[in-house]
Amino acid sequence: MTGSTVLQARGLSMLYGGERALVRAVDEVDLNVPAGQSLAVMGPSGCGKSTLLYLLGGLQRPTDGEVWLADRRIDTMSERALARLRRDSLGFVFQSFHLMDELTAVENVELAALLAGQSPGRARKRAMYLLDRVGLADRARHLPSALSGGQRQRVAIARALSNEPLVVLADEPTGNLDSAATLDVLRLFEELRTAGQTLVVVTHDPRIAAVADRVIAMRDGAFVDDVASAATGTLYDGRR
């Protein structure tokens, strides 16, 4: 289900601080994400996962290297062009959901489309479709405060899908969730994976590997392992 490269990084670096206390949050990372791939980047706290994701999503500018989305170089784009690109081509999911508290679930999902100038009727229709897709059609008129953590995250995922993004970028999407809610979110990611949605998740949670085609291990800003998720079953390990 994978095709041409959608997201690419070359020699991507992000340094913080001065000469005294230099932190190489991302250290010359090369990455190719083919269309349809579901990629998990895993590593311990502080290894640079969030920074990497922000660089890939044009939320932050690298100190060195390049980021390409489809065939457009984004790290040198103007702020305005970047904002438009994020709105039109990327979907973001964060650990703490980032929903607007005073808007209902469906209003949160349709907001981006409305801001992009879509007609209210069409935006609502699409938002309802997406909420149905994440299993929350019956919660559409609830405020986030009336939803569980897992439900809020599913609303956030519906919102991330509202612009039919080239790539969904997620930062610790299960970080604030208990086991049952994590399962709901994992199921949803698994559906996205099988539907061919290109997906990059950075996380500390190894369970995300269950819904990834590929798992990259990150340490100290660099990739140390890159494993295509094999199809072979290893459930039964034969130990007694």
Partner: protein, 179 residues
């Protein structure tokens, strides 16, 4: 395995194939790789130990090897003892730990490389168990077992991270990170 097969016979006498399907149902996806041979080998051993007896099943002239297995009183006693026993299966972390120590002290291998290989394997298992657990059609009883497997593998991964942190510092050559 012996205790499990005995306990599965405690409710009522059964054919070997019935035992196998009971076991598979209880294990869910974890039981898929279990083969019939294991059950029959176990039943034969239990017979020799005097814990089960068997009789030929009636009315199946085409499958004369089919036998119905029954617990003996000794077998029943053993089931009762097994149920009352308190133990907890433990993965052998000590062996892996000693492997790392040996690798480092004798410079046989880079312990961090060993940890990496192990982590891949554990991660692979975790992925498979978690994927199976995502299946909504899973029987909840079998799903409970998978949940336990997932939790333990997560703990193993955490421990491997701790191993990596320590051995990365101990490694005199330092860790080389390649993309």
């Amino acid at each position: 395995m012996q205790d499990v097969v005995l306990a599965m016979l405690a409710k009522e006498p059964a054919h070997g194939y019935e035992l196998r399907s009971r076991l598979r149902a209880a294990l869910g996806p974890l039981g898929e790789a279990m083969n019939a041979g294991q059950i029959y080998v176990t039943l034969t051993r239990l017979g020799k130990a005097g814990l089960v007896t068997s009789q030929r099943a009636e009315g199946l002239p085409d499958r004369p090897e089919r036998r119905v297995y029954v617990l003996t009183p000794e077998g029943q006693q053993r089931v009762a003892t097994w149920l009352a026993e308190v133990n907890w299966p433990k993965p052998d972390l000590a062996e892996f730990h000693l492997k790392l120590v040996a690798a480092a002290t004798a410079r046989l291998a880079d312990p961090v490389t060993l940890v990496d290989a192990q982590r891949r394997e554990v991660l692979r298992r975790l992925r498979d168990a978690q994927r199976a657990a995502l299946d909504r059609s899973m029987d909840p009883v079998a799903g409970l077992l998978l949940e336990g497997v997932v939790l333990r593998l997560r703990a193993d991964l955490e421990w491997l991270e701790a191993c990596e942190r320590l051995w990365a510092q101990h490694d005199p050559t330092g860790r080389k990170a390649g993309a």
